[in-house]
């Protein structure tokens, strides 16, 4: 009789750090609800051309300032534009802001933070003082200032390289808003990254990496950066809600996204005169409520990530 092979003890598959993070995140109810809303936002933004009932710029002169109906689900504004279609289309603006502004601030913050923290010396001094100068201005005021001053320059540049069509379609507004918000957003991240690098670069594993001949930049990017990312992810994800709120404020004040590009901030600004109108109140309240829900959702996701990445917080 052949001897049966003894089955090996089952080796537990090692759990990775990110596996644990996903597990802890999925057990966090508010974070999961937030995540669903956020995914919903991106789905609506992506499917906007299918979801709209009419072009968001189309004008229906027979129905100006009309209440919600079967033709215009949320009514029309004073120009006869379909508010439902504008609300849906504005999800694209919010989605763009929620992706590009954090990405741009993160790139700037990582770049300057790594340089300051790893190179040190006078480079560190210059970068950090530059950040301090930006910090010294009240945040939103500085964004207004930048948005108001760089727009003509960007417009000129876009036309200069022959993108006149883009300039007409409000592409410039996006660049202005993204640039202004990112310029104000990076110094905080740079400080954080710099602090991480200052502590991590003296750790023994950095010396060990040097001892096997790894180059300085490789050590900074492949050995130190992965150790520095956890708090950075938390700060970036936690800031997205605020970024959307900032874009809304800009648009509310008329220096953000310009018509015909729809933005919830702009709609709130345009429609707040109807706030006690018994028929037209949805024009104001629907974009406002959507905005609140989206901002809360991003905040919950950010908090969820924070807790998932720092399991020992109580």
């Amino acid at each position: 009789m052949a001897v049966k092979a003894i089955p090996h003890a089952k080796i537990k598959k090692p759990r990775t750090m990110w596996g644990d993070v996903v597990l802890r995140f999925s057990q966090n109810l508010p974070a999961m609800m937030g995540l669903i809303v956020v995914i919903g936002l991106y789905a609506v933004a992506l499917l906007a051309p299918i979801l709209v009932t009419t072009n968001y710029t189309a004008i229906d002169l027979d129905n100006v300032r009309s209440a919600p109906s079967l033709v215009h689900y949320l009514g029309t504004d004073e120009l006869g534009r379909d508010v439902y279609s504008r609300v849906v289309w504005a999800a694209r603006s919010a989605a763009f802001v929620s992706i590009f502004v954090p990405a741009l601030s993160l790139s700037l913050g990582l770049f300057f933070g790594i340089i300051a923290g790893y190179v040190g010396g006078w480079v560190d001094t210059i970068v950090m003082r530059l950040g301090d100068i930006l910090f010294a201005f009240p945040g939103l005021l500085f964004v207004f200032f930048i948005a108001a001053t760089i727009k003509p320059a960007i417009l000129l540049w876009v036309k200069g390289i022959g993108l006149t069509e883009f300039a007409k379609q409000g592409f410039v507004d996006y660049i202005v808003v993204f640039t202004a918000l990112s310029l104000v957003g990076w110094p905080g991240l740079a400080r954080l990254v710099r602090g991480q690098f200052l502590t991590l670069r003296n750790r023994e594993f950095v010396l060990a990496a040097e001892a096997i001949g790894v180059s300085q930049w490789r050590i900074a990017l492949k050995h130190i950066l992965p150790n520095a990312m956890t708090p950075v992810i938390v700060v970036v994800s936690g800031g997205i809600g605020g970024t959307i709120a900032a874009e809304t404020s800009l648009s509310f004040l008329g220096i953000g996204l310009q018509p015909p590009n729809p933005s919830w901030g702009q709609m709130i600004s345009d429609y707040y005169i109807y706030w006690r109108n018994t028929e037209l109140w949805p024009l104001l309240f629907i974009p406002s409520i959507i905005l609140v829900v989206i901002i809360l959702a991003f905040t919950f996701v950010g908090d969820g990530l924070h807790e998932a990445l720092n399991p020992y917080l109580d």
Partner: protein, 336 residues
């Protein structure tokens, strides 16, 4: 055997706010291929800085190698550019650090950290370096290496992490392995395992080893030759048996005297070397050890003895002969 390493008058200083720290003060020694050299001395006597200087791993600033040469395979490592020395580190000269708990990067897998050097120096691609990393893990005695290669350092015990460090140190078949107190952070049974492992690997692979320790017991069975360092200087150099049998510097005598022995009479007190090593910023005139020396004579206060040959391969830096000259003072050390 061919000469592998020749260190000449190496001098490393740290320029700090409090003054110039004379960490290594003109040490010279040689190492042949396949030879094992033990370096002993108490904490802060320049052992680590001495070997880190060999591959220019000194943080600059504040550290600086101010004098001397390190001839390795006929080339002076001290004159090499950053790029050139990086191609030696981890390739021809491997290094193991003291604390395996902090020397591995916590967010990279074990495999990634072993593969790093292989891809850097041997020009291997990912698949080749992974195969070699598994081989290396098996070589240093990690069971089911192929599975464990994707683990993170926190999933390994201290002894296993030190085995991984050894695997990294040996990954590119170095001619010289520098081990900077590799057993200090481990408990006694693991210490013995690690020493046995290194001994076996040395016999199989034939690399030379520089083994730093402050534990005379650990190196006794491993080293061919010993250096005793004090205040950044070499005070005695001898073949390992000769050093334990005939210590010829009062410091070495003191170090050996402070070891507990199996044949010791119960209740007998261990000898200790009273006092502390001198301040490296403000080195005393004369012999650096004179303040703590039981054998000291007038001359020790004014002149530092050179390292002179006193037997076959045996050198010591002392004015007196500890085997013949009497103890001059029973409690030499005075608090300043």
């Amino acid at each position: 055997m061919a000469r592998l390493l020749e260190v000449n008058n190496l001098r490393t200083q740290f320029f700090t706010q409090d003054g110039v720290v004379n960490a290594v003060n003109g040490i010279s020694y040689t190492l042949d291929e396949g030879e094992t050299l033990g370096i002993v001395g108490e904490s802060g006597c320049g052992k680590s800085v001495g070997v880190m200087s060999l591959i220019k791993l000194i943080p600059t600033p504040p550290g600086k190698i101010v004098e001397g040469s390190v001839i390795f395979n006929g080339e002076n490592l001290i004159d090499m550019s950053d790029g050139e020395i990086r191609s030696v580190r981890g390739n021809k000269i491997g290094m193991i650090f003291q604390d395996p708990m902090t020397s591995l990067n916590p967010v990279l897998t074990i495999g990634r950290q072993i593969q790093e050097a292989l891809e850097l120096h041997m020009g291997m691609d990912k698949a080749q370096s992974k195969a070699r990393a598994i081989e290396l893990l098996e070589l240093v005695g990690i069971p089911s290496a192929a599975d464990r290669i994707n683990d993170y350092p926190h999933q390994f015990s201290g002894g296993m992490r030190q085995r991984v460090m050894i695997a990294i140190g040996l990954s590119c078949n170095p001619q010289l392995l520098i081990a900077d107190e590799p057993t200090t952070a481990l408990d006694v049974t693991i210490q013995a395992q690690i020493v046995d492992l290194v001994k076996k690997l040395r016999d199989d692979l034939g690399m030379a080893i520089i083994w730093i320790t402050h534990d005379l017991g650990v190196v006794a069975g491993l080293a061919d030759r010993m250096l005793v360092m004090y205040a950044g200087m070499i005070v005695e150099e001898a073949p390992v048996k000769e050093l334990y049998a005939n210590p010829s510097h009062p410091y070495t005598v003191g170090l050996l005297g402070s070891l507990p022995r199996l044949d010791q009479v119960s209740g007998e007190k261990l000898d200790s070397i009273e006092g502390l090593p001198p301040d490296l910023i403000d080195l005393p005139k004369g012999c650096p050890f004179h303040a703590r020396c039981k054998y000291r004579i007038e001359k020790c206060f004014t002149e530092n003895p050179p390292l002179k040959t006193i037997g076959v391969g045996h050198k010591a830096a002392c004015w007196i002969d500890v085997t013949k000259d009497p103890i001059t003072t029973e409690r030499p050390y005075q608090e300043v």
